[in-house]
């Protein structure tokens, strides 16, 4: 007898990404397609912005959703094959980098084709101009690289700002820190990040 317990969609919100994937796998094994579908939908809907934010840096606009779909399909294939998920965001980042690299490689191999006639409803966009392989990860590493140069206190301040907190909130949670201090630290970080972006090939994003 199966131990699977169906959940209300509203219950999905309190599950971590890893737990949500586990629930989708359990649902499928229990033959509950509706629960599996709902859990997958919640996961994809909840993380699609993140994956898009990585993919859009390296892939032409018309091809972003294809790569994004491949990323989530790869993640779920791995989950349903019983492979370990580990820390989900890191896994997602790794898989996204690979799918971007696949896409870039395939685009280079792809023969130039003539536009499709109206009768064939599959339409493709231009090939990428010159996307850097795994460029999304390069860009992310710049943020981490600049963060790693900061003292522990300043790093915490910038991390809090990156999480979307206001300067007042950050200052309130940091003894001896004022909102002006927070703004100054954040401003220096942003200046360093811009300089790093200007000096990096990865800073040239797909337009």
């Amino acid at each position: 007898m199966s131990d699977f317990n169906p959940l209300q969609p509203s219950d999905f919100d309190r599950l971590s990404d890893e737990q949500l994937i586990g629930h989708a796998v359990s649902a499928r094994e229990a033959g509950d397609s509706n629960q599996a579908r709902a859990a997958i939908g919640q996961l994809v809907g909840g993380r699609i912005a993140l994956v898009r934010s990585w993919v859009v840096k390296s892939v032409p606009a018309g091809e972003v959703d294809d790569v994004v779909a491949e990323v989530f399909a790869s993640v779920m294939r791995a989950a349903f094959d019983g492979r370990s998920m580990g820390e989900f965001i890191n896994l997602l980042k790794t898989i996204t980098a690979r799918r971007i690299a696949d896409h870039t490689r395939d685009a280079k191999k792809r023969p130039k084709t003539t536009p499709l006639p109206d009768g064939d409803n599959e339409v493709w966009t231009e090939e990428p101009s010159a996307p850097s392989e795994e460029g999304a990860v390069e860009l992310e590493d710049l943020v981490e690289r600049e963060l790693s140069k900061l003292s522990e206190d300043h790093r915490r301040v910038v991390e809090s700002k990156l999480e979307g907190h206001s300067s007042q909130e950050v200052a309130g949670g940091t003894p001896g820190m004022t909102a002006v201090n927070v703004d100054q630290i954040t401003s220096r970080f942003r200046k360093a990040l811009r300089e790093a972006l200007e000096n990096t090939e990865g800073g040239k994003m797909e337009q």
Binding site: D13, D17, L20, R28, S33, N34, A36, R37, I40, G41, L43, V44, G45, G46, R47, I48, A49, L50, R52, S53, V56, K57, A61, V64, D65, D66, V68, A69, F72, A73, M76, R77, F80, I89, K93, D106, R110, T113, L116, G119, D120, E122, W124, L139, E140, L142, V143, E159, L162, E163, G164, R190, L193, R194, L197, E198, G203, K204, M205, Q207
Partner: protein, 207 residues
């Protein structure tokens, strides 16, 4: 407030409100370093943010919904109907282009129409997979970049998809190819062919 900060703030507001938050929309308003900086900041925010809980009506209209349908369909029943059109689209080959290359690879150039009839039956799940030879699958594998094993597995009959399943990215039937009805059993030649079975018939129906 800089444009980068204004757009980042708008993006975070949409994300936390459960609205569609597509980074590309916000990045599209900027160029060069500003664009790269906003991209880096959006990714850094999303990596640290909780999974987004999209409003139900937003999720229903989101590409995430179609992606989730496609993932479940593929996990449940990868078939030639789903695998072949998708792989062909990835390879950016029109059906007539693929057929011409397949005929050449099989050494039956000049019989493209007959190869097209059989290939069309494969894409529509109407050809008995046990009759399709390894040579055909190996040639297709090279042309569309899907492994022989995956093609063979997708040809095997599997459990029916759930009633709610939508094959979101399946190619629509091509009017250039007439619907020949039910699956042709092994040994049965392509509709409209006369006389003794030839090499093309053997390749697609004799296994």
């Amino acid at each position: 407030m800089s444009e980068v900060d204004r757009l980042l703030e708008q993006f975070i507001a949409a994300y936390t409100a459960g609205e569609e938050a597509d980074p590309a929309v916000y990045l599209g308003e900027l160029h060069e370093t500003d664009r790269a900086e906003l991209g880096a900041l959006i990714s850094a925010y999303l990596e640290r943010a909780p999974r987004q809980v999209l409003k139900p009506e937003v999720l229903a209209g989101s590409p995430a919904n179609a992606i989730a349908d496609e993932i479940l369909a593929e996990l449940q029943t990868p078939t030639w109907k789903t695998v072949l059109p998708r792989a062909r689209a990835r390879a950016q080959l029109r059906r007539d282009q693929l057929v011409a290359q397949l005929a050449a690879a099989l050494g039956v150039s000049g019989q493209e129409q007959k190869v097209a009839d059989y290939y069309n039956q494969m894409e529509h799940g109407r050809l008995d997979p046990t009759g399709v030879s390894d040579r055909v699958l190996e040639s297709l594998s090279k042309l569309i970049g899907e492994s022989v094993e995956a093609l063979r597995a997708a040809g095997r009959p599997g459990p029916a998809a759930s009633p709610g399943t939508v094959f979101a990215r399946q190619a629509a039937p091509d009017p250039d190819f007439a619907d020949a009805g039910c699956a042709a059993p092994p040994g049965m030649r392509s509709p409209g062919t006369e006389g003794e079975p030839d090499e093309v018939d053997r390749l697609f129906t004799n296994g």
